[in-house]
């Protein structure tokens, strides 16, 4: 495993009596495009804010380039690009002023990159932040973030509220960022089509608890549908414990399970006495919803799979 650029170590955050992030540990390898998934309120933004040192965790810590998030040197901050949720800008600043303001924080600034992104989103230099459309605001925020050529790009739900064209522009920017193989992208998203395209690592956060953290490839391979067919109907009553089970749906003579590959799983399914058992791959959407959905049988057996992080 290559060097970790971002690390969370038992990060825990309480808002009053609500535990938003519960002992999350994970590592983001250098050069990866790492997607953080979870429902609204699952703790993704809290993790990202803690990572940037914007919010002190209740317990645990996070690090960027090995430095504690609460104690990042200005030089280290200069190597991080952060795009906050909703693309906040100073509305009164003109685009040119926003560039001058932002670049003053960095040692180097890629003017061509800034100009290219701004033009791409058809933003005029004299426009003020408050007069931009939502997509343009996102474009300006992106231009301001990319122009410092950050080694780590942290994006909090970058596609939120964007039209399909602006979303595609964002994807392009992520793919272009990975041109330099030392660059790392850590982003949260609800748009699984985007995640499937660009992410090579995936983590799933459910009510503050990390349920999955592994390479995308491993996730796609290990989470699949297992269909058990019964000659005389699916046995009635509660299902026995099946290792790795995420949810189960019964129809007349078929028991359809979405499950993470685990030892002992096949034996547990065959013990139900089916006539046949088949396995089939499922889409990323189905796999993620199996973790986050509320339907079917859910078990508490699900530790994070694979990855060894």
């Amino acid at each position: 495993m290559s060097e970790a650029v971002i690390q969370f170590e038992n990060l825990t955050h309480w808002y009053g009596k609500h535990c938003a992030v519960d002992q999350v540990s994970l590592a983001v390898p250098r050069g990866s495009v790492f997607a953080l998934l979870g429902r609204n309120g699952s703790g993704k933004s809290t993790m990202i804010r803690a990572l940037l040192g914007l919010q002190k965790p209740t317990r645990g810590r996070s690090r960027v380039f090995g430095e504690d998030s609460m104690d990042l040197a200005p030089q280290t901050r200069g190597r991080i690009g952060y795009l906050a949720e909703g693309h906040p800008l100073f509305g009164w600043m003109k685009v040119g002023e926003a560039e001058r303001f932002e670049r003053s924080f960095y040692d180097s600034w890629n003017e061509r990159m800034f100009a290219a992104v701004v033009e791409h989103f058809r933003i005029g230099r004299k426009q003020r932040g408050k007069d931009l459309s939502r997509g343009q605001r996102a474009g300006l925020a992106l231009a301001l973030t990319l122009a410092s050529e950050p080694e780590v790009l942290v994006l909090d739900d970058p596609a939120m509220g964007l039209d399909p064209v602006a979303r595609q522009d964002f994807l392009e920017s992520i793919v272009l960022t990975t041109r330099d193989s030392g660059r790392t992208v850590f982003f949260s998203s609800h748009i699984l089509a985007d995640v499937e395209r660009v992410a090579d690592h995936v983590a799933i956060l459910d009510q503050g608890v990390l349920r999955v953290c592994c390479p995308m490839e491993v996730f796609r391979q290990k989470v699949r549908r297992v269909v058990a067919t019964f000659k005389e109907g699916v046995p009635a009553g509660k299902l026995p414990d099946i290792p790795g089970l995420l949810y189960a749906v019964r129809c007349a003579d078929e028991l359809s399970l979405v499950a993470v590959e685990r030892s002992g799983q096949k034996e547990a399914i065959w013990a139900l006495g089916p006539a046949a058992v088949t396995e089939e791959p499922i889409s990323l959407d189905e796999a993620v919803i199996a973790y986050l959905g509320e339907h079917g049988v859910r078990t508490s057996l699900l530790e994070k799979i694979g990855g060894g992080q």
Partner: protein, 135 residues
């Protein structure tokens, strides 16, 4: 330049879609030995996918002998040389045929319809003949 088409939300991961389409293009004669393929980066940027996904697809195609990389020149369709033993290739073909036959019969297609669909998928039998290998 040949670019596969990828869709998201499918049961098949993107790298698998890329592998399958290039294989099919080679077997169907759309791609000939010596034809050049886009670089990993060019394909990743064209399809808007992670470059590692394309690298993985090319690695698999190389292992199977469908493509070869030439240092500094890029990726090319290889002269097909069987990488697997004849018996293993036969076994895999049988397994694939088995699955196709069962799925299609289960959907209620006649044997003629299945044959026609297969021939169409392979881009006509003429193209196939030209890249045929002795088992």
């Amino acid at each position: 330049m040949f670019f596969p088409r990828v869709t998201t939300g499918s049961d098949r991961p993107i790298y698998r879609q890329v592998v399958d389409q290039i294989r099919l293009a080679v077997v169907g004669g759309k791609l000939r030995p010596g034809d050049s393929l886009p670089s990993v980066r060019a394909m990743a940027e064209h399809l808007l996918v992670n470059p590692n996904t394309i690298a993985k697809a090319y690695a698999e195609l190389m292992r199977e002998g469908f493509v070869q990389a030439q240092q500094g020149k890029g990726v090319f369709v290889a002269d097909r040389r069987p990488v697997l033993s004849a018996a293993e290739r036969q076994r895999r073909l049988q397994a694939a045929v088995e699955q196709l036959a069962h799925e299609a019969a289960g959907l209620g297609f006649s044997s003629k319809q299945i044959q026609e669909a297969l021939a169409k998928k392979l881009g006509g039998m003429a193209g196939m003949g030209e890249t045929e290998q002795k088992p």
